[in-house]
Amino acid sequence: MSIQWLLDKMKSFSDKEAIIWKTNRYTYKQLLDRVDYWKTTLRDNGVSGGQVVAIEGDFSPNACALLMSLVDNGNIIVPLSSTLPAKQKSEFISVAETQVKYSIDSTDNFKFEALKTKTTNPLIRNLQSINEPGLILFSSGSTGKNKAALHNFTKLLNKYKTTRPAYRTLIFLLFDHIGGINTLFHSLSNGGCLILISERDPEAVCKAIQDYQVELLPTSPTFLNLLLMSEQYKYFDLSSLKIISYGTEPMPESTLKRVHEILPDIRLLQTYGLSELGILRSKSRSSDSLWVKIGGEDYQTRVVDDILHIKTDMAMLGYLNAPSPFDEEGWFNTEDRVEVDGEYFRILGRKTDIINVGGQKVYPAEVESVLLELEGITDVTVTGESNPILGQIVVARVNLAKEEKLTDLKKRIRDFCKSRLNPYKIPQKIEIAHDNQYTARFKRMRR
Protein backbone atom coordinates (compact mmCIF):
# COMPACT_ATOMS: atom_id res chain seq x y z
CA MET A 1 0.00 0.00 0.00
CA SER A 2 2.51 2.56 -1.10
CA ILE A 3 0.09 5.45 -1.50
CA GLN A 4 -2.28 4.82 1.37
CA TRP A 5 -1.17 8.20 2.80
CA LEU A 6 -2.33 9.93 -0.39
CA LEU A 7 -5.65 8.11 -0.43
CA ASP A 8 -6.15 9.04 3.25
CA LYS A 9 -5.41 12.68 2.48
CA MET A 10 -7.86 12.60 -0.40
CA LYS A 11 -10.46 11.02 1.83
CA SER A 12 -10.18 13.97 4.22
CA PHE A 13 -11.08 16.38 1.38
CA SER A 14 -14.30 14.35 0.81
CA ASP A 15 -16.82 16.75 -0.74
CA LYS A 16 -14.33 19.26 -2.13
CA GLU A 17 -14.04 19.47 -5.91
CA ALA A 18 -11.13 17.33 -7.12
CA ILE A 19 -11.43 17.53 -10.89
CA ILE A 20 -13.54 19.19 -13.53
CA TRP A 21 -13.72 17.44 -16.88
CA LYS A 22 -15.98 18.47 -19.74
CA THR A 23 -18.21 20.56 -17.42
CA ASN A 24 -18.61 17.60 -15.05
CA ARG A 25 -17.45 18.12 -11.50
CA TYR A 26 -16.01 15.25 -9.45
CA THR A 27 -15.49 15.50 -5.70
CA TYR A 28 -12.63 13.75 -3.92
CA LYS A 29 -15.13 11.19 -2.70
CA GLN A 30 -16.31 10.46 -6.24
CA LEU A 31 -12.74 10.24 -7.49
CA LEU A 32 -11.89 7.78 -4.69
CA ASP A 33 -14.93 5.71 -5.71
CA ARG A 34 -13.38 5.60 -9.20
CA VAL A 35 -10.09 4.46 -7.70
CA ASP A 36 -11.97 1.64 -5.95
CA TYR A 37 -13.74 0.76 -9.18
CA TRP A 38 -10.36 0.44 -10.86
CA LYS A 39 -8.98 -1.72 -8.06
CA THR A 40 -11.78 -4.19 -8.78
CA THR A 41 -11.31 -3.89 -12.53
CA LEU A 42 -7.56 -4.53 -12.27
CA ARG A 43 -8.32 -7.65 -10.27
CA ASP A 44 -10.96 -8.77 -12.80
CA ASN A 45 -8.53 -8.18 -15.67
CA GLY A 46 -5.87 -10.20 -13.85
CA VAL A 47 -3.44 -7.29 -13.59
CA SER A 48 -1.00 -8.15 -10.85
CA GLY A 49 1.57 -5.99 -9.05
CA GLY A 50 4.89 -5.56 -10.86
CA GLN A 51 3.40 -5.79 -14.34
CA VAL A 52 4.24 -3.00 -16.78
CA VAL A 53 1.00 -1.20 -17.70
CA ALA A 54 0.61 1.48 -20.37
CA ILE A 55 -2.17 4.05 -20.14
CA GLU A 56 -2.90 5.59 -23.50
CA GLY A 57 -4.97 8.78 -23.33
CA ASP A 58 -5.14 12.28 -21.97
CA PHE A 59 -6.03 13.57 -18.51
CA SER A 60 -9.57 12.34 -17.71
CA PRO A 61 -11.35 11.02 -14.61
CA ASN A 62 -10.62 7.41 -15.56
CA ALA A 63 -7.02 8.11 -16.53
CA CYS A 64 -6.35 9.82 -13.17
CA ALA A 65 -8.13 7.13 -11.12
CA LEU A 66 -6.47 4.30 -13.06
CA LEU A 67 -3.06 5.89 -12.55
CA MET A 68 -3.59 5.98 -8.78
CA SER A 69 -4.97 2.45 -8.64
CA LEU A 70 -1.95 1.18 -10.55
CA VAL A 71 0.47 2.91 -8.18
CA ASP A 72 -1.47 1.39 -5.29
CA ASN A 73 -1.34 -2.01 -6.98
CA GLY A 74 2.45 -1.76 -7.37
CA ASN A 75 2.55 -1.58 -11.16
CA ILE A 76 5.12 0.03 -13.44
CA ILE A 77 3.22 2.66 -15.39
CA VAL A 78 3.82 4.01 -18.88
CA PRO A 79 1.63 7.06 -19.60
CA LEU A 80 1.28 7.66 -23.34
CA SER A 81 -0.33 10.84 -24.60
CA SER A 82 -2.93 10.37 -27.33
CA THR A 83 -1.07 12.99 -29.39
CA LEU A 84 1.98 10.73 -29.93
CA PRO A 85 2.44 9.54 -33.52
CA ALA A 86 1.45 5.86 -33.88
CA LYS A 87 4.93 4.68 -34.78
CA GLN A 88 6.44 6.35 -31.73
CA LYS A 89 3.73 4.93 -29.50
CA SER A 90 4.44 1.37 -30.56
CA GLU A 91 8.16 1.96 -30.12
CA PHE A 92 7.60 3.24 -26.57
CA ILE A 93 5.34 0.30 -25.75
CA SER A 94 8.04 -2.10 -26.82
CA VAL A 95 10.98 -0.31 -25.12
CA ALA A 96 9.02 -0.25 -21.84
CA GLU A 97 8.34 -4.02 -22.12
CA THR A 98 4.64 -3.25 -21.72
CA GLN A 99 2.54 -6.20 -20.57
CA VAL A 100 -0.88 -4.60 -20.27
CA LYS A 101 -2.39 -1.70 -22.16
CA TYR A 102 -5.40 0.42 -21.24
CA SER A 103 -6.54 2.83 -23.97
CA ILE A 104 -8.84 5.58 -22.80
CA ASP A 105 -10.71 7.49 -25.49
CA SER A 106 -12.00 11.06 -25.55
CA THR A 107 -15.32 10.03 -23.97
CA ASP A 108 -13.46 8.32 -21.11
CA ASN A 109 -14.33 4.80 -22.23
CA PHE A 110 -11.51 2.32 -21.99
CA LYS A 111 -10.18 -0.77 -23.71
CA PHE A 112 -8.06 -3.44 -22.05
CA GLU A 113 -5.41 -5.41 -23.84
CA ALA A 114 -2.99 -8.00 -22.43
CA LEU A 115 0.28 -8.26 -24.35
CA LYS A 116 2.45 -11.35 -24.24
CA THR A 117 5.60 -9.59 -23.10
CA LYS A 118 8.18 -10.89 -20.62
CA THR A 119 10.19 -8.30 -18.73
CA THR A 120 13.95 -8.75 -19.08
CA ASN A 121 15.34 -5.28 -18.42
CA PRO A 122 17.47 -5.44 -15.23
CA LEU A 123 16.12 -2.09 -13.92
CA ILE A 124 12.52 -3.23 -14.35
CA ARG A 125 13.30 -6.64 -12.87
CA ASN A 126 14.91 -5.00 -9.86
CA LEU A 127 11.90 -2.77 -9.21
CA GLN A 128 9.62 -5.81 -9.51
CA SER A 129 11.73 -7.75 -7.02
CA ILE A 130 11.37 -5.08 -4.33
CA ASN A 131 7.62 -4.71 -5.01
CA GLU A 132 7.74 -1.00 -5.73
CA PRO A 133 5.58 0.83 -8.31
CA GLY A 134 7.35 2.51 -11.21
CA LEU A 135 6.89 5.27 -13.75
CA ILE A 136 8.41 5.30 -17.23
CA LEU A 137 8.74 8.66 -19.00
CA PHE A 138 10.29 9.24 -22.39
CA SER A 139 12.69 12.05 -23.14
CA SER A 140 14.69 12.86 -26.23
CA GLY A 141 18.23 11.56 -26.50
CA SER A 142 21.23 13.07 -28.23
CA THR A 143 20.76 11.19 -31.49
CA GLY A 144 17.04 11.87 -31.58
CA LYS A 145 16.33 8.48 -30.00
CA ASN A 146 13.88 8.77 -27.13
CA LYS A 147 15.27 7.67 -23.79
CA ALA A 148 13.07 5.83 -21.34
CA ALA A 149 13.54 7.07 -17.76
CA LEU A 150 12.42 4.61 -15.09
CA HIS A 151 11.41 6.09 -11.72
CA ASN A 152 10.52 4.48 -8.44
CA PHE A 153 7.01 5.92 -8.11
CA THR A 154 7.00 5.74 -4.28
CA LYS A 155 10.11 7.90 -4.12
CA LEU A 156 8.72 10.35 -6.67
CA LEU A 157 5.55 10.79 -4.63
CA ASN A 158 7.25 11.27 -1.26
CA LYS A 159 7.62 15.00 -1.73
CA TYR A 160 3.86 15.45 -1.91
CA LYS A 161 3.57 14.37 1.73
CA THR A 162 4.53 17.92 2.72
CA THR A 163 1.45 20.13 2.73
CA ARG A 164 1.67 23.11 0.36
CA PRO A 165 -0.84 25.65 -0.92
CA ALA A 166 -3.33 24.25 -3.40
CA TYR A 167 -4.97 26.18 -6.19
CA ARG A 168 -7.61 25.72 -8.81
CA THR A 169 -5.21 24.56 -11.50
CA LEU A 170 -5.63 24.09 -15.19
CA ILE A 171 -3.74 21.04 -16.46
CA PHE A 172 -1.97 22.31 -19.54
CA LEU A 173 0.96 19.93 -19.83
CA LEU A 174 0.30 16.45 -21.13
CA PHE A 175 -0.32 13.18 -19.37
CA ASP A 176 3.07 11.69 -20.31
CA HIS A 177 5.07 14.76 -19.26
CA ILE A 178 6.81 15.05 -15.88
CA GLY A 179 5.18 18.49 -15.48
CA GLY A 180 1.69 17.08 -16.05
CA ILE A 181 2.26 14.25 -13.54
CA ASN A 182 3.63 16.80 -11.05
CA THR A 183 0.57 19.06 -11.39
CA LEU A 184 -1.75 16.09 -10.87
CA PHE A 185 -0.18 14.82 -7.65
CA HIS A 186 0.51 18.26 -6.22
CA SER A 187 -3.14 19.18 -6.55
CA LEU A 188 -4.62 15.89 -5.32
CA SER A 189 -2.35 15.73 -2.26
CA ASN A 190 -3.24 19.27 -1.19
CA GLY A 191 -6.98 19.34 -1.82
CA GLY A 192 -6.76 21.45 -4.96
CA CYS A 193 -9.14 21.37 -7.90
CA LEU A 194 -7.85 20.35 -11.33
CA ILE A 195 -9.42 21.59 -14.53
CA LEU A 196 -8.79 19.03 -17.27
CA ILE A 197 -9.02 20.33 -20.83
CA SER A 198 -8.77 18.61 -24.17
CA GLU A 199 -8.02 21.66 -26.33
CA ARG A 200 -5.06 23.86 -25.58
CA ASP A 201 -5.46 26.87 -27.86
CA PRO A 202 -5.53 30.37 -26.28
CA GLU A 203 -9.31 30.74 -26.60
CA ALA A 204 -10.11 27.36 -25.01
CA VAL A 205 -7.65 28.01 -22.19
CA CYS A 206 -8.96 31.54 -21.49
CA LYS A 207 -12.53 30.29 -21.54
CA ALA A 208 -11.71 27.53 -19.05
CA ILE A 209 -9.98 30.07 -16.78
CA GLN A 210 -13.11 32.21 -16.83
CA ASP A 211 -15.66 29.39 -16.52
CA TYR A 212 -13.92 27.53 -13.70
CA GLN A 213 -12.14 30.39 -11.87
CA VAL A 214 -8.69 28.96 -12.52
CA GLU A 215 -6.01 30.37 -10.20
CA LEU A 216 -2.87 28.65 -11.48
CA LEU A 217 -1.90 28.09 -15.10
CA PRO A 218 1.25 26.03 -15.63
CA THR A 219 2.26 26.55 -19.26
CA SER A 220 5.06 27.14 -21.74
CA PRO A 221 6.60 30.30 -23.24
CA THR A 222 5.27 29.30 -26.66
CA PHE A 223 1.72 29.27 -25.35
CA LEU A 224 2.22 32.68 -23.75
CA ASN A 225 3.40 34.03 -27.10
CA LEU A 226 0.28 32.68 -28.77
CA LEU A 227 -1.85 34.16 -26.02
CA LEU A 228 -0.31 37.59 -26.64
CA MET A 229 -0.77 37.35 -30.39
CA SER A 230 -4.32 36.06 -30.30
CA GLU A 231 -5.32 38.76 -27.76
CA GLN A 232 -7.78 36.29 -26.26
CA TYR A 233 -6.99 37.67 -22.77
CA LYS A 234 -9.08 40.71 -23.79
CA TYR A 235 -12.27 38.74 -24.32
CA PHE A 236 -12.42 36.66 -21.16
CA ASP A 237 -12.50 37.47 -17.48
CA LEU A 238 -9.17 36.25 -16.17
CA SER A 239 -9.46 37.96 -12.78
CA SER A 240 -9.36 34.63 -10.90
CA LEU A 241 -5.87 33.91 -12.22
CA LYS A 242 -3.13 34.42 -9.61
CA ILE A 243 -0.11 32.59 -10.97
CA ILE A 244 1.24 31.62 -14.36
CA SER A 245 4.16 29.22 -14.17
CA TYR A 246 6.29 28.57 -17.21
CA GLY A 247 8.98 26.05 -18.11
CA THR A 248 9.94 23.34 -20.63
CA GLU A 249 11.95 25.71 -22.87
CA PRO A 250 13.93 28.95 -22.48
CA MET A 251 11.67 31.98 -22.07
CA PRO A 252 12.32 34.93 -24.41
CA GLU A 253 12.76 37.99 -22.22
CA SER A 254 10.50 40.14 -24.41
CA THR A 255 7.62 37.68 -24.00
CA LEU A 256 7.96 37.68 -20.22
CA LYS A 257 7.99 41.47 -20.06
CA ARG A 258 4.91 41.80 -22.26
CA VAL A 259 2.94 39.21 -20.32
CA HIS A 260 3.83 41.10 -17.15
CA GLU A 261 2.75 44.42 -18.71
CA ILE A 262 -0.58 43.04 -19.85
CA LEU A 263 -1.32 40.98 -16.73
CA PRO A 264 0.47 43.00 -14.01
CA ASP A 265 -1.38 41.42 -11.07
CA ILE A 266 -0.48 37.87 -11.97
CA ARG A 267 2.69 36.36 -10.52
CA LEU A 268 4.91 34.85 -13.20
CA LEU A 269 7.01 31.98 -11.93
CA GLN A 270 9.60 29.95 -13.71
CA THR A 271 9.75 26.21 -13.11
CA TYR A 272 12.57 23.81 -13.80
CA GLY A 273 12.38 20.08 -14.18
CA LEU A 274 13.57 17.14 -16.22
CA SER A 275 12.01 13.75 -16.90
CA GLU A 276 15.11 12.22 -15.33
CA LEU A 277 14.97 14.20 -12.07
CA GLY A 278 11.43 15.40 -11.53
CA ILE A 279 10.40 19.00 -10.90
CA LEU A 280 12.62 21.08 -8.66
CA ARG A 281 11.28 23.68 -6.27
CA SER A 282 11.84 27.11 -7.75
CA LYS A 283 11.38 30.78 -6.99
CA SER A 284 11.64 33.57 -9.55
CA ARG A 285 13.30 36.79 -8.36
CA SER A 286 10.27 38.74 -9.63
CA SER A 287 7.51 38.43 -12.19
CA ASP A 288 9.53 40.11 -14.93
CA SER A 289 12.82 38.41 -14.09
CA LEU A 290 14.36 35.34 -15.70
CA TRP A 291 16.53 34.82 -12.62
CA VAL A 292 15.33 31.87 -10.63
CA LYS A 293 16.34 30.01 -7.48
CA ILE A 294 16.09 26.28 -8.00
CA GLY A 295 16.70 23.36 -5.74
CA GLY A 296 14.83 22.90 -2.50
CA GLU A 297 15.51 20.40 0.25
CA ASP A 298 15.76 17.35 -2.00
CA TYR A 299 18.04 18.78 -4.68
CA GLN A 300 21.71 19.82 -4.72
CA THR A 301 23.00 21.99 -7.56
CA ARG A 302 26.45 22.91 -8.83
CA VAL A 303 27.77 24.63 -11.91
CA VAL A 304 30.68 23.17 -13.84
CA ASP A 305 31.98 25.18 -16.82
CA ASP A 306 28.72 27.15 -16.95
CA ILE A 307 26.69 23.93 -17.12
CA LEU A 308 24.16 23.07 -14.43
CA HIS A 309 24.60 19.74 -12.62
CA ILE A 310 22.02 18.35 -10.20
CA LYS A 311 22.15 15.63 -7.56
CA THR A 312 19.01 14.29 -5.93
CA ASP A 313 17.48 11.27 -4.25
CA MET A 314 14.40 11.90 -6.37
CA ALA A 315 16.25 10.98 -9.55
CA MET A 316 15.22 8.16 -11.85
CA LEU A 317 16.77 4.72 -11.41
CA GLY A 318 18.18 4.90 -14.92
CA TYR A 319 17.36 4.67 -18.61
CA LEU A 320 15.91 1.42 -19.96
CA ASN A 321 17.61 1.93 -23.31
CA ALA A 322 20.73 3.99 -22.64
CA PRO A 323 23.73 3.96 -20.28
CA SER A 324 23.39 5.63 -16.88
CA PRO A 325 23.95 9.40 -17.17
CA PHE A 326 25.01 9.82 -13.52
CA ASP A 327 28.65 10.15 -12.47
CA GLU A 328 30.12 8.07 -9.60
CA GLU A 329 28.88 10.59 -7.02
CA GLY A 330 25.40 10.67 -8.51
CA TRP A 331 25.55 14.04 -10.26
CA PHE A 332 23.46 14.53 -13.39
CA ASN A 333 24.70 16.86 -16.14
CA THR A 334 21.64 18.78 -17.37
CA GLU A 335 23.54 20.20 -20.37
CA ASP A 336 21.79 23.48 -19.66
CA ARG A 337 24.04 26.50 -19.83
CA VAL A 338 23.42 28.89 -16.93
CA GLU A 339 24.54 32.22 -15.52
CA VAL A 340 24.84 32.49 -11.75
CA ASP A 341 24.11 35.43 -9.47
CA GLY A 342 24.34 34.44 -5.81
CA GLU A 343 21.55 31.96 -5.22
CA TYR A 344 19.91 32.69 -8.56
CA PHE A 345 20.34 31.02 -11.93
CA ARG A 346 19.51 32.23 -15.37
CA ILE A 347 18.95 29.40 -17.82
CA LEU A 348 20.42 30.23 -21.21
CA GLY A 349 19.52 27.06 -23.06
CA ARG A 350 21.07 23.85 -24.12
CA LYS A 351 24.75 23.70 -24.69
CA THR A 352 24.35 21.37 -27.60
CA ASP A 353 22.83 22.11 -30.96
CA ILE A 354 19.40 20.88 -30.08
CA ILE A 355 16.71 23.03 -31.61
CA ASN A 356 13.70 23.71 -29.42
CA VAL A 357 10.55 24.30 -31.46
CA GLY A 358 7.78 25.27 -29.09
CA GLY A 359 9.12 23.00 -26.36
CA GLN A 360 9.71 20.09 -28.72
CA LYS A 361 13.28 19.07 -29.32
CA VAL A 362 14.72 18.69 -32.78
CA TYR A 363 18.09 17.11 -33.40
CA PRO A 364 19.77 18.58 -36.48
CA ALA A 365 21.34 15.25 -37.38
CA GLU A 366 17.97 13.56 -37.77
CA VAL A 367 16.58 16.23 -40.12
CA GLU A 368 19.83 16.39 -42.09
CA SER A 369 19.79 12.69 -42.64
CA VAL A 370 16.25 12.80 -44.06
CA LEU A 371 17.02 15.74 -46.36
CA LEU A 372 20.13 14.06 -47.70
CA GLU A 373 17.92 11.26 -49.00
CA LEU A 374 16.16 13.73 -51.28
CA GLU A 375 17.28 13.70 -54.89
CA GLY A 376 19.42 16.67 -55.94
CA ILE A 377 20.48 17.69 -52.44
CA THR A 378 24.22 17.28 -52.08
CA ASP A 379 24.77 18.72 -48.64
CA VAL A 380 22.71 20.26 -45.90
CA THR A 381 23.17 21.92 -42.53
CA VAL A 382 20.24 22.19 -40.18
CA THR A 383 20.28 24.84 -37.49
CA GLY A 384 17.87 26.64 -35.21
CA GLU A 385 16.92 30.24 -35.74
CA SER A 386 15.35 32.18 -32.94
CA ASN A 387 11.70 32.95 -33.48
CA PRO A 388 9.56 35.02 -31.14
CA ILE A 389 6.56 32.71 -31.49
CA LEU A 390 7.97 29.21 -31.33
CA GLY A 391 11.24 29.99 -29.54
CA GLN A 392 13.15 28.51 -32.43
CA ILE A 393 12.44 27.31 -35.93
CA VAL A 394 14.28 24.75 -38.05
CA VAL A 395 16.34 26.19 -40.88
CA ALA A 396 17.95 24.05 -43.58
CA ARG A 397 20.74 25.39 -45.70
CA VAL A 398 21.15 23.11 -48.70
CA ASN A 399 23.64 22.62 -51.51
CA LEU A 400 22.05 21.56 -54.78
CA ALA A 401 23.38 19.40 -57.60
CA LYS A 402 21.74 21.72 -60.11
CA GLU A 403 19.86 25.05 -59.98
CA GLU A 404 16.29 24.97 -58.78
CA LYS A 405 13.68 27.61 -57.93
CA LEU A 406 13.31 28.12 -54.19
CA THR A 407 9.51 27.72 -54.19
CA ASP A 408 9.81 24.41 -56.10
CA LEU A 409 12.51 23.18 -53.75
CA LYS A 410 10.43 24.12 -50.69
CA LYS A 411 7.49 22.13 -52.02
CA ARG A 412 9.64 19.08 -52.76
CA ILE A 413 11.12 19.21 -49.28
CA ARG A 414 7.71 19.56 -47.63
CA ASP A 415 6.24 16.67 -49.58
CA PHE A 416 9.24 14.47 -48.88
CA CYS A 417 9.41 15.22 -45.16
CA LYS A 418 5.69 14.90 -44.47
CA SER A 419 5.77 11.12 -44.10
CA ARG A 420 9.24 11.01 -42.59
CA LEU A 421 9.36 13.68 -39.85
CA ASN A 422 7.03 15.03 -37.15
CA PRO A 423 5.56 18.34 -38.37
CA TYR A 424 7.66 20.41 -35.94
CA LYS A 425 10.86 18.89 -37.31
CA ILE A 426 10.19 19.87 -40.91
CA PRO A 427 12.35 22.88 -41.85
CA GLN A 428 10.32 26.08 -41.90
CA LYS A 429 12.98 28.01 -43.73
CA ILE A 430 15.07 26.78 -46.65
CA GLU A 431 18.16 28.57 -47.85
CA ILE A 432 20.20 27.65 -50.92
CA ALA A 433 23.93 27.64 -50.25
CA HIS A 434 26.53 28.22 -52.93
CA ASP A 435 29.57 27.46 -50.81
CA ASN A 436 30.82 24.51 -48.80
CA GLN A 437 29.32 24.05 -45.39
CA TYR A 438 32.14 22.40 -43.53
CA THR A 439 35.40 23.46 -41.96
CA ALA A 440 38.89 22.35 -42.90
CA ARG A 441 38.54 19.58 -40.33
CA PHE A 442 35.41 18.41 -42.13
CA LYS A 443 33.20 19.43 -39.27
CA ARG A 444 29.82 20.80 -40.03
CA MET A 445 29.51 24.54 -39.56
CA ARG A 446 26.56 25.55 -37.45
CA ARG A 447 26.46 29.30 -37.50
Binding site: D201, P202, E203, A204, T222, L226, L228, M229, S230, E231, Q232, S254, R258, V357, G358, N387, P388, I389, L390, I393, L406, T407, K410, K411, R414, K418, P423, Y424, Q428, K429
Partner: protein, 99 residues
Amino acid sequence: MAIDRQKVLETVYASIEMINEDREDKESRLELKEETRLVGRQSKLDSLKFVGLIIDIEQRLADELDIEISLTDEKAMSQARSPFRNVQSLVDYICSLEV
Protein backbone atom coordinates in the same frame (compact mmCIF):
# COMPACT_ATOMS: atom_id res chain seq x y z
CA MET B 1 9.01 54.16 -51.22
CA ALA B 2 5.33 53.39 -51.11
CA ILE B 3 4.45 49.70 -51.21
CA ASP B 4 1.93 48.44 -53.76
CA ARG B 5 -0.85 47.06 -51.57
CA GLN B 6 -2.31 44.83 -54.29
CA LYS B 7 1.07 43.16 -54.85
CA VAL B 8 1.51 42.54 -51.15
CA LEU B 9 -1.98 41.06 -50.99
CA GLU B 10 -1.18 38.73 -53.90
CA THR B 11 2.02 37.66 -52.17
CA VAL B 12 0.14 36.83 -48.98
CA TYR B 13 -2.41 34.85 -51.03
CA ALA B 14 0.41 32.95 -52.76
CA SER B 15 1.74 31.91 -49.34
CA ILE B 16 -1.74 30.89 -48.19
CA GLU B 17 -2.07 28.79 -51.33
CA MET B 18 1.15 27.04 -50.40
CA ILE B 19 -0.43 26.07 -47.06
CA ASN B 20 -3.64 25.00 -48.82
CA GLU B 21 -1.75 22.75 -51.23
CA ASP B 22 -0.92 20.44 -48.33
CA ARG B 23 -4.55 20.15 -47.28
CA GLU B 24 -6.60 17.58 -49.12
CA ASP B 25 -9.70 18.28 -47.08
CA LYS B 26 -11.41 21.35 -48.58
CA GLU B 27 -12.88 22.34 -45.21
CA SER B 28 -9.46 22.88 -43.71
CA ARG B 29 -8.26 25.23 -46.43
CA LEU B 30 -7.97 28.96 -45.85
CA GLU B 31 -10.13 31.22 -47.96
CA LEU B 32 -8.38 33.78 -50.11
CA LYS B 33 -10.09 36.84 -48.71
CA GLU B 34 -9.11 39.73 -46.50
CA GLU B 35 -11.30 38.63 -43.58
CA THR B 36 -9.56 35.25 -43.24
CA ARG B 37 -8.36 34.84 -39.64
CA LEU B 38 -4.69 33.99 -39.13
CA VAL B 39 -4.48 33.51 -35.35
CA GLY B 40 -6.94 32.55 -32.66
CA ARG B 41 -9.42 29.79 -32.60
CA GLN B 42 -11.29 30.84 -35.71
CA SER B 43 -8.02 30.43 -37.57
CA LYS B 44 -7.33 27.13 -39.31
CA LEU B 45 -3.62 27.44 -38.59
CA ASP B 46 -1.80 25.91 -35.66
CA SER B 47 1.29 27.70 -34.36
CA LEU B 48 3.66 25.72 -36.62
CA LYS B 49 1.64 26.42 -39.76
CA PHE B 50 1.20 30.03 -38.76
CA VAL B 51 4.95 30.54 -38.38
CA GLY B 52 5.49 28.68 -41.67
CA LEU B 53 3.08 31.06 -43.37
CA ILE B 54 4.77 34.17 -41.96
CA ILE B 55 8.23 32.95 -42.97
CA ASP B 56 7.01 32.13 -46.46
CA ILE B 57 5.50 35.61 -46.78
CA GLU B 58 8.79 37.17 -45.64
CA GLN B 59 10.74 35.11 -48.18
CA ARG B 60 8.36 35.90 -51.04
CA LEU B 61 8.33 39.61 -50.21
CA ALA B 62 12.13 39.59 -50.35
CA ASP B 63 12.47 37.44 -53.49
CA GLU B 64 9.60 38.80 -55.54
CA LEU B 65 9.03 42.38 -54.38
CA ASP B 66 12.46 43.18 -52.95
CA ILE B 67 10.86 44.07 -49.63
CA GLU B 68 13.20 43.03 -46.81
CA ILE B 69 11.26 43.03 -43.57
CA SER B 70 10.84 40.96 -40.45
CA LEU B 71 7.28 40.23 -39.50
CA THR B 72 8.03 38.74 -36.11
CA ASP B 73 10.34 41.33 -34.63
CA GLU B 74 9.81 43.30 -31.44
CA LYS B 75 7.87 45.95 -33.36
CA ALA B 76 5.35 43.56 -34.87
CA MET B 77 4.90 41.69 -31.60
CA SER B 78 4.33 44.82 -29.53
CA GLN B 79 1.68 46.52 -31.66
CA ALA B 80 -1.35 47.58 -29.63
CA ARG B 81 -3.53 45.75 -32.15
CA SER B 82 -1.95 42.52 -33.33
CA PRO B 83 -1.18 42.71 -37.08
CA PHE B 84 -1.78 38.96 -37.34
CA ARG B 85 -5.52 39.00 -36.72
CA ASN B 86 -6.42 38.51 -40.35
CA VAL B 87 -5.15 38.94 -43.90
CA GLN B 88 -6.26 42.55 -44.08
CA SER B 89 -4.49 43.67 -40.88
CA LEU B 90 -1.32 41.85 -41.95
CA VAL B 91 -1.25 43.45 -45.40
CA ASP B 92 -1.92 46.87 -43.86
CA TYR B 93 0.89 46.34 -41.40
CA ILE B 94 3.37 45.37 -44.15
CA CYS B 95 2.38 48.45 -46.15
CA SER B 96 2.82 50.66 -43.10
CA LEU B 97 6.49 49.68 -42.74
CA GLU B 98 9.19 51.95 -44.05
CA VAL B 99 11.32 50.03 -46.51
